[in-house]
C-alpha cells in the first residue's frame, strides 16, 4: 500500500494532460498551454496517454457525448477538470494534480457522485450558475460512468454499431471496426461472401467496399476528424471517408447552433466595428499572435514540436504585452529558421493547392488569398511575413479601421466571418489527400470555429 501511494505521488508530479478545448475556449486554451509548458506537463494526443483531462472553455451540450467518450477512454488513475475562464486554469490544474496524487482507495465514492453531477447533465444547471458549478463540480472528476466502463466486456453494447456518431480523437469505439476494414481490400470481386447478417466480434459492423483513387476496390472507413483532435480547430468536425489512409470524401458537420460569436482572435476588429477606439498596434499584436498560434499548430501537425514550442512562446509573450524590441529579434530568428527550412518546404510543397482565383471565388479574404502559389508552404510563409509586418507595427497608435485592415483570417464581417469561407473550402481540398496531408491542409488554412458560432452561455439560456 505504501509503495502504491509513493508511486502515485511520483506519477502525479508530471501528469500528462489531455487538453480539450470547447468552442469559445481559445483564451482558456492559451492560458492552459502556457501553464502546461511552464510546468513541464506534457500534452497528450489521445485519452489513452493521459492522466488528467482539462476541458478548457465554456460548456457545450452538443459536444457533451464526445467529451464523455474521451473521458471513458482514459485509463485509470485519471482526473477530469474544467476551466471556464483563463484565470482559473492554474488553480484547476493544481487541484487536478492533487487529486491524482491521492491513491484511488482514498478517493472513495464521494467524488464519484460529485463527478456524476458535474459532467453528466449540464442541462440540469441553472444557466446563471453553470459557470460556477462547473468550476467547482468538475473538479470532482470521476463519474460513476467509468465504473460501469470497467465492467464492460469487449461486447459492450455502447460500442456496437455506432459508426458515424463519433467525436473524439478518431479512435472512438465504433470506428475501431472500420479501422481494420479500411485496409482490407476487396480485390477479388468473384468471391461471393455476403457481408449481410454476419455476426462480427465485438458487435461491430462491417465496412463496405468502394472504388478508390487508384482504381482498386477497397473498404471504406468512416472516421470523424474532430471535434477534439489534438492540434485541430476546436469543435470543428469533418467526417471523412478513408480508403487506406487516403481521404475519399469529406463532409462538414454542422457547426454548433449558436448566436453571435465572440472570437478571441478578431476581438479588436469586433470592438472597432462597434465604435470602440482600438489602436492599430493592439490589432497588429493580436494578428501576429493569431498567426503564430496557427503556425504553432501547423508545425505541430508537421511533426516539428521544437519549432511549434518556439511559435507558441512568441505568441504568449505577444499576448502578455511584451515590448516590440524584445519580440522582434526572436520573431526574426523563428521566421528565418522556419521560412527557410528546405526540409519543411520539401515536405509540404504542392500539398493543398488553392489558386488565388479559386480562393477569391470562394470569397476567401486574408492570408490564404495573398499566399502566392497557394500550397501549404506558400501559406505558412505568408503567415511568417505577416507576423513580421505586424510585429513592426506593435507600437502604432493610429485608430484601427476594421474595414481597411484585415483581421487575422480576413476582412472582418460579422455576418460572413472570414473563417466561414475557409471552412467551406475544406471538403474540396481534402478529397484525394493522404491523411497526413489532409491534416496539413486544415492546419495551413486554420479556420477559427469561434468565428462561426460559439457555445456561449447566452445560447444556453436562449
Amino acid at each position: 500500500m505504501g509503495l502504491t501511494a509513493a508511486l502515485t505521488r511520483a506519477a502525479a508530479a508530471r501528469p500528462r494532460v489531455l487538453l480539450v478545448t470547447t468552442p469559445g475556449g481559445t483564451p482558456v486554451r492559451l492560458a492552459a498551454e502556457k501553464e502546461l509548458r511552464s510546468r513541464d506537463w506534457p500534452s497528450a494526443s489521445t485519452p489513452a496517454g493521459a492522466d488528467l483531462m482539462l476541458v478548457a472553455g465554456p460548456d457545450c451540450s452538443r459536444l457533451g457525448p464526445a467529451l464523455e467518450r474521451l473521458w471513458q477512454d482514459m485509463p485509470r488513475p485519471r482526473v477530469r477538470v474544467r476551466a471556464v475562464t483563463a484565470d482559473e486554469v492554474a488553480s484547476v490544474l493544481e487541484a487536478g494534480r492533487a487529486r491524482l496524487a491521492t491513491p484511488e482507495g482514498d478517493r472513495g465514492g464521494a467524488d464519484r457522485t460529485a463527478g456524476e453531477h458535474g459532467h453528466g447533465e449540464p442541462g440540469k444547471h441553472d444557466a446563471e450558475s453553470v459557470r460556477a458549478d462547473h468550476a467547482k463540480d468538475d473538479r470532482g472528476f470521476e463519474g460513476g460512468a467509468h465504473a460501469r466502463h470497467h465492467d464492460d466486456g469487449p461486447e459492450a453494447s455502447g460500442h456496437g454499431g455506432e459508426h458515424a456518431g463519433h467525436g473524439g480523437t478518431g479512435h472512438g469505439d465504433g470506428d475501431d471496426d472500420h479501422a481494420r476494414h479500411g485496409h482490407d481490400g476487396h480485390g477479388h470481386t468473384g468471391h461471393g461472401h455476403g457481408h449481410g447478417g454476419m455476426e462480427m466480434p465485438g458487435g461491430l459492423a462491417m465496412a463496405e467496399p468502394g472504388e478508390d483513387r487508384d482504381g482498386l476496390t477497397l473498404d471504406r472507413l468512416h472516421v470523424p476528424l474532430g471535434p477534439f483532435l489534438a492540434d485541430w480547430p476546436a469543435g470543428l468536425t469533418l467526417r471523412v471517408v478513408l480508403q487506406g489512409d487516403v481521404v475519399q470524401r469529406a463532409d462538414l458537420d454542422d457547426p454548433p447552433a449558436g448566436g453571435p460569436a465572440d472570437p478571441f482572435w478578431s476581438r479588436p476588429w469586433l470592438r472597432a466595428t462597434t465604435g470602440e477606439p482600438v489602436c492599430v498596434g493592439e490589432a497588429a499584436r493580436r494578428r501576429a499572435a493569431a498567426h503564430l498560434d496557427s503556425l504553432g499548430r501547423l508545425l505541430s501537425v508537421a511533426g516539428w514540436p521544437a519549432e511549434a514550442v518556439t511559435a507558441r512562446r512568441l505568441r504568449d509573450d505577444l499576448l502578455e504585452e511584451a515590448p516590440a524590441s524584445a519580440i522582434l529579434p526572436r520573431a526574426e530568428r523563428f521566421t528565418r529558421r522556419v521560412g527557410r527550412s528546405r526540409t519543411l518546404y520539401w515536405l509540404t510543397r504542392g500539398v493543398g493547392l488553392l489558386s488565388a482565383a479559386d480562393a477569391r471565388a470562394a470569397s476567401v479574404t486574408g492570408p490564404a488569398v495573398r499566399a502566392a502559389g497557394g500550397d501549404v508552404p506558400a501559406r505558412y510563409r505568408q503567415w511568417l511575413t505577416e507576423v513580421m509586418d505586424a510585429v513592426r507595427q506593435l507600437d502604432a497608435t493610429a485608430p484601427l479601421n476594421p474595414v481597411a485592415q484585415e483581421s487575422p483570417r480576413g476582412r472582418w464581417d460579422a455576418e460572413r466571418p472570414p473563417s466561414a469561407a475557409l471552412v467551406k473550402l475544406l471538403p474540396r481540398l481534402l478529397v484525394g489527400a493522404e491523411l497526413g496531408a489532409a491534416r496539413l491542409v486544415v492546419a495551413s488554412l486554420d479556420p477559427d470555429p469561434d468565428e462561426l458560432t460559439a457555445c456561449r452561455l447566452e445560447v444556453a439560456r436562449g
Partner: protein
C-alpha cells in the same frame, strides 16, 4: 554435435512444426501470418544450429521483412475483412492434401535415395566464407542471372499491376512536367 545443439535442434524443429500447424488452424489472417513467421524464424534457428550462421540469420532477417509485407497484402487483398472476421485458412482441401502428401513422400524418399557424401577434412568454425564461395564462385553466372530475372519479374509485375502509364503521367507527347500524379513524390518528377 554437442548435447546443447541437439536439444536446440529438437526444440526449434518442434516449434517450427507447431508454427506450421497453427498456420492451418488459426482463423485470423494476421495471426496466421505471424505463426508462419514464427515457424520460419525457428527454421532460421535450425540452420544456425547446423553451423550455417549466415544463412540462418539471413533467413530470420528476410522472413521478418517478407512476412510483414505479406501480411499487408494478404489483409489488403482478401475477400473477407481480415483478422476481425474469423475465417478458415483452408481452400481446396482434398486437392491440397493430395499435393502435400505427394511432396512430403517425395522429400522423404529423397532423404534415403540421395548419396550423402562423407566428411573429408575437419569441420570449419566459420562457414560464411564457404557459403559465399560456393554460391558466388562456380555459380556466379547462375546467381547473376537469377538476380536479374527476379528484378525483371518485380518490375514487370508492378508495371502490369499499375493502371496508369507514362502517357497518363506525362501527356501524349511525354512533355508535361511535372507529371500528372494524384500525389507528389519526393524528388518532384
Amino acid at each position: 554435435m554437442g548435447t546443447t545443439s541437439t536439444v536446440l535442434l529438437w526444440v526449434l524443429g518442434v516449434l517450427a512444426l507447431v508454427g506450421g500447424v497453427l498456420v492451418f488452424t488459426l482463423n485470423s489472417m494476421a495471426r496466421v501470418t505471424f505463426a508462419l513467421l514464427g515457424s520460419l524464424v525457428c527454421v532460421g534457428g535450425v540452420v544456425t544450429v547446423l553451423r550455417l550462421p549466415y544463412l540462418g540469420v539471413v533467413i530470420v532477417l528476410m522472413m521478418v521483412m517478407e512476412m510483414v509485407i505479406m501480411a499487408v497484402f494478404m489483409i489488403a487483398y482478401m475477400m473477407n475483412p481480415a483478422g476481425l472476421m474469423p475465417m478458415s485458412m483452408l481452400h481446396n482441401k482434398r486437392g491440397s492434401l493430395v499435393i502435400s502428401g505427394l511432396v512430403f513422400a517425395a522429400l522423404v524418399v529423397g532423404i534415403f535415395l540421395v548419396p550423402w557424401p562423407d566428411r573429408t577434412g575437419a569441420r570449419l568454425e566459420d562457414t560464411t566464407f564457404q557459403v559465399g564461395m560456393s554460391l558466388m564462385g562456380d555459380q556466379m553466372l547462375t546467381m547473376v542471372t537469377l538476380g536479374f530475372v527476379l528484378l525483371a519479374t518485380m518490375v514487370g509485375a508492378t508495371v502490369l499491376a499499375t493502371r496508369r502509364g507514362r502517357y497518363d503521367r506525362f501527356g501524349d507527347d511525354l512533355d508535361q512536367r511535372p507529371a500528372n500524379d494524384s500525389a507528389g513524390g519526393g524528388v518532384g518528377r
